[in-house]
């Protein structure tokens, strides 16, 4: 029988367009070090650390060479997952669930402002011979995907804007989000913002920012030592779709449904038990597709459900109470931050965007581009 695994707390830095005053290792240090004192843990009592990072984001080979001491990993059981922190959570969970490790830090940082072209990050993940010359990146794949989704269900361009309006209304309440996005935006504002790649407009898409996020996982024995309200990782489901965008129907999200099914099975609950959802995706269009794939809306009906108020902060099932990644996208950290937001919701620490009496949350994390790599978590208090 696997050990129960709790998240005792999480911390994230306020996202900013560019933290020019400090080095990326200092971002990590600032967040991790403050976090340990906040939860009252001595550094000596931390056994293990899972770093998440990406060499291409840092412009540097083997990025954890220089982050390990800033992160607090000196002489600890250490490893690095080269993906979003939200994907890294699955591995951090496994290490504690095995019974071999107690207090385990999971952390991430991102300083996308140092990257000359933010699309380089995912653009470089194309297959090098046939795909790369086409310049496919997270934006163009998301745009192809949104178009396929629109066509499949006969939607108009308003659908993506309706979802973005909900996200941005919540972003305005989230003090950790980018200030430039913490305003009131109407559907028309969103539709009239700069066209990035048809049908995706600027306000329907992530914007790269600087920041960091971390959380502490531990076993049942130590969970209440560091938190009055430990949040339990009850279910994890992961599922990859095909890599080549031309090999699959981009509007088909069966891999997400599969991941969700696995997470619910492990948690032993159904989607009816979920009180809120946090989604990490690159565009509001993908968020609609995710909501349908997870089973919270019928196929092609997510935008209509958003319009009905079902998913609003005061609605029946709040989606992205934090505003999601449209509020800030720190490469590698943004998915982890969605998990952190769910943790704060369940601990009752979400401030102005708190969902009343939240007991169970679902978090969706996108890895890579175009909803190819998917992770779904069920968290409960």
């Amino acid at each position: 029988m696997a050990e129960k695994v709790a998240i005792v707390g999480a911390r994230a830095l306020k996202a900013e367009p560019a933290r020019k005053n400090i080095y990326y290792t200092e971002l990590l240090f600032e967040n991790n070090y403050s976090f340990l004192s906040e939860i009252g843990m001595n550094w000596d009592d931390m056994e293990s650390i899972v770093e998440t990072g990406c060499d291409v984001a840092d412009g540097r080979s083997i990025s954890n060479v220089f982050t390990v001491d800033a992160a607090g990993g000196h002489m600890k059981e250490e490893t690095k997952v080269e993906e979003d922190m939200g994907i890294g959570l699955a591995y951090a969970y496994m290490r504690v669930a095995s019974g071999k490790m107690g207090n385990s830090m999971l952390c991430s940082y991102g300083k996308g402002s140092e990257m000359p072209d933010p699309h380089f990050f995912h653009g470089l993940s194309s297959e090098p011979i046939f795909m790369k010359p086409m310049g496919l990146d997270e934006l163009s794949i998301a745009a192809l995907q949104a178009t396929a989704y629109m066509n499949k269900f006969g939607l108009t361009e308003r659908a993506g804007a309706i979802m973005a309006e909900l996200d941005l209304a919540n972003v305005a309440l989230n003090p950790l989000a980018l200030e430039s996005r913490r305003k009131k935006f109407t559907v028309d504002d969103i539709l009239n913002s700069k066209m990035l790649s048809t049908p995706i407009t600027e306000l329907e898409f992530i914007t790269v920012s600087d920041g960091a996020c971390c959380m502490m996982l531990t076993n049942e024995d130590q969970a209440t030592k560091y938190s009055d309200v430990p949040v339990w990782i009850e279910g994890i489901g992961m599922c990859n779709d095909l890599f080549y965008p031309g090999h699959r129907d981009l509007a088909d999200t069966k891999a997400i449904s599969k991941a969700c099914e696995r997470a619910l099975k492990m948690a032993g609950c159904s989607i009816d038990d979920i009180d809120l959802i946090e989604i990490y995706a690159h565009s509001s269009w993908q968020e609609l597709m995710v909501l349908e794939a997870l089973g919270f809306s019928e196929q092609g009906k997510a935008a209509a459900d958003v319009e009905s108020g079902k998913f609003a902060l005061g609605g029946k099932l709040p989606v992205n109470p934090s505003g999601g990644a449209l509020g800030a996208n720190v490469w590698i950290s943004a998915g982890g931050t969605r998990v952190a937001e769910a943790v704060w919701q369940l601990q009752g620490k979400a401030g102005d965007h708190q969902v009343k009496d939240a007991k169970k949350a679902m978090v969706y994390i996108l890895g890579g581009t175009g909803l190819m790599c998917n992770a779904v978590y069920v968290l409960g208090r």
């Binding site: 060499d55 083997i62 000196h74 002489m75 490893t79 080269e82 669930a97």
Partner: protein, 384 residues
């Protein structure tokens, strides 16, 4: 905790350049060999964990996505571990936790790199600080040259003692069909080879290779159906901060912590006696001496004497690197996993011409980063 057994391992023949396959194809070859050994198909795999060295080597970010269709990732969990030189071992260890956690029953761990696609030492020079360190273009040999020099001065070691390793490794490699450098050389040849970064000479250094390695790990219930699985008895991966100035390069505390943790877990008090062989990550010959000391196979400073005595040869009481080690093939991405794969083959009794007779317990080591990450996995034919 759930016990974890290895029931299939696979490797590709390492070469300087494989022009006949691309990177995903290379990974596929190793996976097929592992599946064949385990008598499985990809449908029997519940989850895949991928590992490779820095993206810059092949020039593709998130290469696990590109490889995913070829590594069995479709409709499965599939993510990537990346810890530099240790990545192969870190990925094997991640496979262990996939099963030990109870999350998955049968897991494929796959690692590989195609170093011929890029400029390895150029890319490794970007490890260093972009403002203060990169201009030195130190790469890997210069960092290890500093380590070797500190070690030589501390214990009064001679370069010839390193050369013995270079000869022994290439001799062992002649028995390993997967190795790249199967050389018949002498200590004199090594001493006369051109200097790369003093005291390291060409023949003291590993080659750069194309290759992949895979492991299939499963539960106790499933593993015991196999005639002789390799049981994973202990794992550890310790990192230390990369303090170039004040670190004691000759004594690797992270290695000692990782090794001692594993020994303690298994109740090993005399590793030289209780281990039947070790596979260490000796990217450069001086490291074999330093790692032997760190693993407690001989006293500190006595690595040269230990190697000189022949104790670590195939005929000795503590064979090191029957495979020919990293000095005979280095893909970086798969290298530390190859150590684990070789350890498994030995305790499974499937190491053919390089088999250590009656091997029951074997240790696999890896190092990475600024000589700061150390991994240990101990496998045994006994469940424990």
């Amino acid at each position: 905790m759930r016990r974890v057994g290895v029931v299939g391992v696979g490797q590709t023949k390492t070469k300087m350049r494989r022009t006949d396959v691309d990177y995903p194809g290379l990974c596929f070859e190793a996976i097929q060999e592992a599946l064949d050994m385990a008598e499985m198909t990809i449908d029997d795999i519940d989850a895949v964990v991928f590992g490779s060295a820095p993206e810059y080597f092949e020039g593709v970010n998130f290469p696990e996505k590109w490889c995913s269709d070829h590594t069995g990732g479709f409709m499965k969990p599939h993510f990537r571990i990346m810890t530099g030189g240790t990545v192969g071992a870190s990925t094997g260890i991640a496979g262990f936790y996939h099963v030990a956690s109870g999350m998955y029953d049968t897991v494929l761990a796959i690692t590989g790199d195609k170093l011929s696609e890029g400029e390895v030492q150029f890319n490794l020079s970007t490890v260093y600080d972009p403002i203060f360190g990169r201009d030195f273009a130190a790469g890997a040999p210069s960092a290890v040259a500093i380590q070797a020099s500190v070690y030589m001065h501390k214990y009064n070691i001679k370069e010839e003692e390193f050369a013995i390793v270079a000869v022994q490794e290439r001799k062992n490699a002649q028995n390993n069909p997967y190795a790249q450098l199967q050389l018949d050389i002498t200590v004199e040849d090594v001493m006369k080879s051109p200097p790369l970064s003093t005291p390291i000479k060409l023949l003291d250094a590993c080659p750069a290779s194309d290759g992949a390695a895979a492991m299939i790990l499963t539960t106790e219930e499933k593993a015991q159906k196999y005639q002789k699985p390799a049981w994973i008895r202990a794992v550890s991966a310790i990192a230390e901060g990369v303090d170039y100035t004040f670190r004691n390069w000759a004594v690797n505390t992270a290695l000692m912590k990782a090794a001692n943790k594993c020994y303690k877990e298994m109740g090993i008090t005399n590793p030289r006696k209780e281990l039947d062989l070790v596979e260490v990550y000796d990217a450069f010959s001086p490291q074999m001496l330093i790692w032997a000391e760190g693993l407690g196979l001989c006293p500190l400073g006595k690595g040269g004497e230990f190697l000189n005595s022949g104790a670590a040869s195939m005929e000795g009481d503590m064979p090191m690197n029957p495979s020919g080690g990293v000095l005979s093939a280095n893909t970086i991405g798969a290298t530390a996993m190859v150590r684990q794969v070789e350890a498994c083959l030995q305790v499974m009794g499937k190491a053919d011409k390089r088999q250590v007779a009656g091997a029951k317990t074997a240790l696999a080591h890896g190092w990475g980063g600024g000589i700061q990450f150390h991994t240990i996995m101990i496998v045994s034919s006994e469940k424990g």
